[in-house]
């Protein structure tokens, strides 16, 4: 078969598919049945300014409506969520999930990356954004190996380095930083998955950031910068005010390693004035907690002085998962115990990151959007939260993930809210 024939075949297929959709599409629209009703919960949807008791109805894969007092009689199935919080499924904007067994590599196709599904649903996350584990050369492998096989929605920032995070030395190779190919991958080949560009782990001057921004301009997407390995450190003021554009992202915001990364809070625990200006200019500040990038001595003074991160994300990988980070529910709880409200932390893990990556279809509970939903219990007690320096703060609140839905389907159910008592199964025989 010539390529022309296969192309025309493809077009025919698509036309048929569209015709079928048009014909069949009318049927479910007319029915509009409520398959699942989440009733009695306190609904938090920062995009729509909702923070009050509200019921949510799901039809198939999508949210049908959010209203007060939707009658249980109108739904095929109703879950009583009294005492619980309903939020959009969390969007973790910084993870490493290009898992594989290439022992030569460290993050790309390697063991430092984690298969996402074991971490996401159990902490209320329904979408993750891989932060540059792959570059244009190995993204297809990442897609085939992880993205296409995961239940979690996996989006990605493409590394400006062609081989992604293969090794620290490869990441210095300016010859492999190709803005044209990077932009083609994002705009032409995988626009549904690739939401931006990552610049990371570069030891030199601003060269890598500038090439990433060049690619960002070509593809019209944001650039995320991990600016951590310069000795002496490069100026973050120059990064924020001269090299990055409004909408670009600075990650590892509360990292404290002054020898190779300039900090946002100075040694007298004062937020540097240009940091506020940068945030006003539109630079987006991401937590990217990780195994080495979150210190209370940065975060606590910053929050007290009114500098809040735009996005709370995990930097999930093998060396962060069992440390101070643990999971997104724990990380959000940590920020609540540093003074943020529940609504403020949910905003920073739903609607804010959705806007930062220009995926406004996500991170909200609009009727018509895909039913990605988290249900949390706010547990009261005596808890402790750690940073990466093994210092602790005490706290009284912790979020626990009771239920997670991905596209209308229950993918995590901690206490079996959705399950009947076992003896009903026997009696139904």
């Amino acid at each position: 078969m010539t390529s022309y024939e296969s192309f025309s075949g493809l077009v025919l297929h698509r036309l048929l598919a569209i015709a079928c959709t048009l014909l069949l599409g009318t049927v479910p629209v007319a029915a509009q049945e409520i398959d699942l009703l989440l009733k009695g919960g306190h609904l938090l949807d920062p995009k729509n300014g909702i923070n009050e008791p509200m019921d949510l109805a799901i039809s198939g894969k999508t949210i049908l409506k959010v209203e007060k007092d939707i009658p249980a009689s109108s739904a095929k199935k109703t879950l009583d969520l009294s005492g619980l919080y309903i939020t959009p499924g969390l969007l973790d904007m910084h993870v490493h999930v290009f898992h594989g067994t290439n022992t030569e590599s460290y993050i790309a196709d390697a063991l430092t990356s984690l298969p996402p599904d074991g971490f996401t649903f159990r902490s209320g996350v329904t979408t993750v954004v891989d932060a540059g584990s792959s570059g244009w050369r190995n993204f297809r492998q990442f897609k085939e190996q992880t993205i296409d096989r995961s239940q979690t929605r996996v989006l990605a920032l493409l590394n400006i380095v062609g081989t992604g995070m293969y090794g620290r030395f490869e990441e210095q190779n300016v010859m492999d930083m190709n803005p044209t190919m990077t932009a083609h991958m994002i705009n032409r080949l995988f626009p549904e998955i690739l939401v931006g560009i990552k610049s990371a782990h570069y030891w030199g001057d601003f060269t890598q950031v500038d090439i990433a921004v060049e690619a960002g301009n070509l593809a019209n997407v944001p650039v995320m910068v991990d600016f951590g390995e310069h000795q002496p450190p490069n100026s973050i003021e120059a990064l924020f005010m001269q090299h990055l554009r409004p909408g670009d992202i600075f990650t590892h915001t509360f990292s404290y390693g002054p020898n190779n990364r300039e900090t946002v809070v100075d040694e007298n625990l004062k937020v540097k004035p240009f940091v506020f200006e940068a945030q006003e200019r539109g630079i987006r500040f991401d937590v990217g907690h990780g195994g080495g990038a979150f210190s209370f001595r940065q975060a606590i003074p910053a929050i007290e002085q009114g500098f809040l991160p735009d996005v709370i994300s995990s930097d999930l990988h093998k060396d962060s998962m069992n440390g101070g980070f643990k999971d997104m529910a724990n990380l959000l709880s940590k920020f609540m115990n540093m003074g943020l409200s529940l609504e403020e932390v949910i905003l920073r893990a739903t609607w804010n990151p959705a806007q930062v990556i220009h995926r406004e279809d996500l991170g909200n509970l609009d009727p018509g959007s895909e039913a990605d939903i988290a249900v949390f219990r706010l547990v009261e007690g005596d808890f402790g939260f750690q940073d990466i320096r093994r210092t602790r703060i005490d706290g009284t609140q912790r979020l626990e993930t009771e239920l997670t839905l991905r596209a209308g389907r229950i993918v995590w159910d901690l206490n079996g809210i959705n399950a009947p008592h076992w003896e009903t199964e026997i009696s139904n025989r």
Binding site: T103, L114, L269, K318, W412, W422, T424
Partner: protein
């Protein structure tokens, strides 16, 4: 003579006493150590990665780091004898595939320090498993070797009779005696018995157990149990599927030949998995006297987010069915170690490797789910507070071992 002894003792204690003797000291924990028959409030000192002292009181000054564990339960590091952790990038398979999971992602956060892979690899690919996962994990990873040469590589490779070579399997068991704890037979749809016989032979030659899975539809349960020796392990004990006769019959009675095998010394593992655990089997079986020996989770991609969730959830589920705290801890530690013939693990005897976990017994209204999506309620749930492997803190939920943050 007595004085001389005291003198020697005093001398022996002199040297360490002058400095801080313990790297970590855990104080006031409720210790459950089945091997040493301890169920009491104790202090435990750890030095050089080993248990150095277990005593009623050990002064704080003797340790570099003190963990106040009052109100918490101290258990030997838990042992999950049924997991699938030969993770890799192959689609739709367990061996070197995406259907397996990475052990460290799940272990320490649920108090586990040792997992046993249940035959995901066979003699052809065990060494790949060792290089890619076992050697690269912080968790101690042991394994049952599948009698099928390429382990759980899917059909039709795992049906290949020629590949179920007892000599090759034996060779591997002898080459890696510290990792391989036995043989597994799991997935075979033919009527021939010689794969089962081969598995018995290979494990018998090194006197290690055979682990028997449930996907052997042409063998009857009675015949399998009859061929199994004391010490061999039946897993998915409370499964209710077509591929194997359930141990409890339609009237809710435990089958007499099952009870006979149990009494004869065949071990019964939970092997919860996504489909391997049903209340309609477990509740009647427990009532009629068959308690599982071990709480293998059958952790893999399709069980991790199901009713299984993690080993502590499985243990809490058995508590909700009426088992005592001490009994579940015993099964998850010392008894599991005995079943896999690793008496060096699963206890906190002085000199043993310092693998241990501090657990909190939460009170509240909890629910537990089986493979059929049915729920029971419970008032208790175990939560991991802290896990130590080889004397190092590897998980610390609330920062028990951390310093308080202070402003400068």
């Amino acid at each position: 003579m007595k004085n001389l002894c005291l003198l020697i003792l005093g001398f022996a204690f002199c040297l360490p006493l002058s400095a801080q003797e313990f790297d970590i000291l855990i104080q006031r924990a409720y210790l459950v150590d089945a091997k040493n028959k301890i169920q009491d409030t104790m202090n435990v000192g750890i030095a050089d990665g080993k248990i150095a002292l277990v005593a009623r009181t050990i002064p704080s000054e003797k340790a570099k780091k003190v963990i106040n564990a009052s109100g918490l339960i101290l258990s030997p590091g838990l042992i999950d004898i049924h997991t699938h952790v030969f993770v890799g990038s192959k689609a739709s398979t367990f061996a070197d595939g995406f259907s397996s999971v990475s052990p460290d992602d799940f272990t320490f956060r649920s108090g586990i320090t040792t997992v046993v892979d249940a035959g995901t690899s066979g003699w052809r690919n065990f060494e790949t498993f060792k290089k890619n996962v076992i050697d690269a994990s912080h968790t101690r990873v042991l394994a049952f070797l599948n009698i099928a040469g390429s382990g759980m590589s899917g059909h039709p490779t795992q049906e290949n009779l020629q590949d179920m070579d007892p000599e090759k399997a034996l060779e591997m068991l002898q080459r890696y005696p510290d990792i391989l704890v036995g043989i597994k037979i799991g997935h075979f749809t033919g009527p021939e018995w010689h794969p089962f016989e081969n598995a018995l032979v290979a494990s018998g030659k090194v006197q290690k157990p055979l682990l028997v899975e449930c996907h052997l539809p042409r063998y009857t349960l009675a015949e399998q149990l009859e061929k199994m020796r004391p010490g061999d392990i039946l897993t998915h004990s409370f499964e209710e599927i077509d591929e194997r006769m359930p141990i409890v019959d339609e009237k809710g009675q435990l089958r007499p030949f099952v009870l006979a095998a149990y009494e004869r010394g065949v071990h019964f593992d939970v092997g919860h998995g996504g489909a391997g655990f049903w209340f309609s089997q477990a509740i009647p079986a427990l009532r009629q006297g068959l308690k599982p020996h071990t709480f293998g989770t059958d952790l893999h991609r399709f069980s991790m987010n199901s009713g299984m969730k993690n080993m502590l959830n499985v243990m809490s589920k058995f508590m909700a069915m009426g088992m005592e705290l001490e009994a579940v801890i015993q099964r998850a530690s010392w008894q599991a170690a005995q079943v896999i013939q690793r008496p060096d693990l699963g206890h906190l005897t002085e000199g043993a490797v310092a693998d241990l976990t501090l657990l909190k017994l939460l009170e509240g209204d909890f629910g537990f789910v089986d493979a059929g999506g049915n729920r029971i309620k419970g008032k208790h749930k175990l939560e991991t507070e802290l896990t130590i492997k080889g004397g190092k803190v590897v998980y610390d939920l609330n920062g028990l071992a951390a310093k308080n943050y202070n402003y400068q």
